[in-house]
């Protein structure tokens, strides 16, 4: 039976709320919110809030910088930002980190279209191209470079040439970050693959590589090499495929005409994937492992080799008692090639005074000068003065795979392409299924064609 006083209870509650002085409560609440806001107006935070609310500009000496670095990269980037602040003052920089991948580029795009972009933003080299095509970036002139004591020859050739678009410098590369081969020293020792000086035996030949896989497999009693391919992972499968694909001489690009045509060499596609499937069937490569587990196999000696981007160095170094090394992915076909991308600095399109432009360049220069801090996270410096320094050559195991940068192959330019893009997602998912032996390479290629057709047939919105 329902309580007899229900209605009264409700009314009483409303009443008591009223008598609790609703107006007083609201006023107090408003006050509590506004006071620190107003008080904070003299401080950095207050100014930021005010600029957000009223669209006022931050004082021009404050440089706004956006990036997408989390984890170890994030920590190191913060250290580099601190380096800039130390030189130019505590208020000189407002740095913001956003979630990695598509959401980040969406924010950069929307902010630039909305005329509120950051002064400097980080972009993957492969993603800077679509931004440039959308007229969202300002070209960087040689005069800009010279104003902070830089010239094109200060940068590694591969990333510099790769960023040049329509005869313009659209991005300043900070690094090259290729996929590399991690190896577990203990396992490789037992498999007889370590030289006297502790280096991994050169495996640059298909037969030699396969016999190494066989030897490691005997040591581990299971897989020899892990490649993550499930749990939402699509990028690694793509990186591995693109590496081996480009090790074939004279192979055609996957996409042409900025993503309007699919020009993948179907024979090579089949060849590379048949080989991968044969490794899986022989038990040398895992069938289905997610990113973290694939990695832990190599860490714990359940596998000898692990293919992943060099940034995993931070994780590997944090594993207690793990003895590991890193080398460029061996050349199994005609020529050395390694899938890679670069982190670059770009200048989103906005109205700038010459002073602001100069400050943005000074910021980029400051970051480049701290390339060694950045290199500790595994990335190969694009700034030659850092890459050629004795300090970098002394960094181990970083210097062991630095040569991979010379053979870096970037993703084909496409309006839906680049690192973490729709293209990588679609193709990588199918390659993952190939590795799981769930579909044949032929079916995978058909699925890729079907799913990409929307993008191939759509005029670029950029």
């Amino acid at each position: 039976m329902a309580a007899p006083h229900d209605k009264e209870v409700v009314n009483e509650m409303a009443m008591s709320n009223g008598t609790l002085s609703r107006r007083g409560f609201l006023a107090a609440g408003l006050g509590a919110v506004t006071l620190p806001l107003l008080a904070g107006c003299s401080s950095d935070l207050g100014r930021t809030v005010a600029s957000g609310l009223f669209g006022t500009r931050l004082p021009s000496e404050t440089l706004v910088f956006w990036n997408l670095f989390g984890g170890g990269d994030g920590t190191r980037m913060q250290a580099m930002e601190a380096g800039y602040r130390k030189r130019y003052g505590a208020d000189s920089l407002q740095a913001t980190t956003f979630a990695w991948g598509n959401p980040y580029y969406t924010k950069v795009t929307l902010a630039t279209v909305g005329n509120k972009p950051p002064d400097v933003a980080v972009s993957h080299l492969t993603r800077a191209k679509p931004l440039w095509n959308g007229d969202l970036l300002e070209p960087i002139t040689d005069a800009d470079l010279a104003s902070v004591g830089l010239k094109p020859s200060d940068f590694a050739k591969r990333p510099w040439d790769a960023q040049r678009t329509d005869g313009h410098t659209i991005a300043i590369p900070l690094d090259t970050h290729p996929i590399v081969m991690f190896f577990n020293r203990d396992v490789c020792q037992k498999a007889g693959l370590l030289e006297a000086d502790g280096a991994l035996t050169a495996l640059d030949d298909m037969d030699r590589f396969e016999s190494a896989l066989e030897a490691i497999s005997k040591v581990t009693g299971g897989v020899a090499m892990t490649i993550p391919n499930v749990g939402g992972e699509t990028a690694t499968e793509w990186r591995v495929f693109w590496t081996f694909y480009n090790q074939h001489k004279g192979v055609s690009p996957f996409l042409s005409d900025n993503g309007a045509r699919l020009t993948v060499d179907e024979d090579v596609f089949g060849d590379v994937n048949d080989r991968l499937q044969s490794w899986v069937k022989k038990g040398w490569v895992n069938k289905g492992l997610d990113y973290a587990t694939a990695e832990s196999y190599m860490f714990t000696g359940k596998a000898g080799l692990y293919l992943e981007g060099e940034w995993e160095i931070t994780t590997a170094q944090s594993v207690k008692g793990l003895k590991f090394g890193m080398v460029p992915i061996p050349t199994l076909y005609d020529q050395p090639a390694t899938q890679a991308d670069s982190h670059t600095f770009v200048l989103p399109r906005k109205d700038r005074t010459p002073e602001e432009r100069h400050q943005a360049m000074l910021f980029i220069r400051s970051m480049l000068d701290q390339s060694l801090t950045w290199a500790k996270g595994g990335h190969i410096p694009a700034f030659r003065r850092a890459a050629d320094s004795a300090a970098y050559k002394a960094l181990s195991p970083q210097s062991a795979y630095a040569s991979a940068a010379e053979h870096a192959v970037y993703d084909d330019p496409a309006w839906y392409g680049g690192s973490g893009s729709t293209f990588e997602g679609i193709v990588g998912a199918q390659l993952g299924l190939v590795q799981q032996l769930a579909i044949s390479p032929k079916d995978a290629l058909q699925a890729i064609k079907d799913q990409l057709s929307v993008y191939l047939n759509t005029p670029s919105p950029l």
């Binding site: 039976m1 329902a2 309580a3 007899p4 229900d6 209605k7 209870v9 409700v10 509650m13 409303a14 598509n102 959401p103 580029y105 969406t106 795009t109 929307l110 279209v113 959308g134 007229d135 969202l136 749990g231 939402g232 309006w415 839906y416 729709t422 998912a429 799913q451 929307v454 759509t458 005029p459 919105p461 950029l462």
Partner: protein, 318 residues
Amino acid sequence: MTTATIAATTPLAARGTRHANTASPMQRNDSRSAWLFIAPFGVFYLAFLLGPTLYMFVMSFFNTSLVHSGLGTFAGFANYAEMLSRPDFWSSLWHTLQFTLYTTPPLVILAFVFAVLTNRLNRGQWFFRLAFFLPFILPSATISLIWVFVFTPSTGLWPLVETWFGVTPGSGVLSSPNTAMIGVAIATVWWTLGFNFVLYLAGLQDIPRELYEAAAVDGASTWAQIRYITIPMLGRTTTLVVLLQIIASLKIFDQVYLMTSGGPGISTQVSLQLITNTAFTDNRLGAGSAASVLLFIVIIVIAVIRQLVDRSAARKEA
């Protein structure tokens, strides 16, 4: 509380006005000042709802780009044809319906059950009202964080409970394509139950006490009273709750984006997410608009079907 009461009585009130309108049409002057009073709201409605909606309809026939001004080249029905032939469009639509099917029944039935139970309490009712409504005032980001924590593989609350019952925790509710949507649905039910609960509670308190007293005198059991008094008397509230719930569920975006971001794969990608991705990640406002219009049509069709079913049910009763 007040909101709930107003919302629950709206259908009754609306009926009344309709009659009043036809009986005595407004005077010219009255109408002019009425428009004046509506104007402040009307301007916002026009600028931020009707205007953009019309623009969306127009854009859906063009290759409009996010980064270039203007509508772009004329596309005719190409954007629609593309969406209708895309498997991920259909799968996202299915995921949206799936979510609606998972959340609407529990949100209506549980809210009703809890409201009836709470209404029977003599003391401490405030506690239950508060407990059920509290999650509703939390922002979607907060509830997503809470439930991502609950569902964390091996260390979260859910796997912990599973181990108590001797079940070996798997890779996590949100990591499997088969269970991810259920996980999101559970979080949503916990989050929004309070709103329907309050609507039902308000409806319950509008049922005249005499009916129950008379029934008790006639010897009706508690169950019979619920079956023959409470449920029919709450008919209007149920109609409202179901309609609001279906529409809210079809507009699902926040929780999915925050908890699984559409994954694993695209197994929980819902329509609004596909629309955002097309319009703002692929920079294709035109194609995104076309998908939006299609979702709009689906929502209208479902609302109309529900209305027709309801009307025929009412006719049968009468």
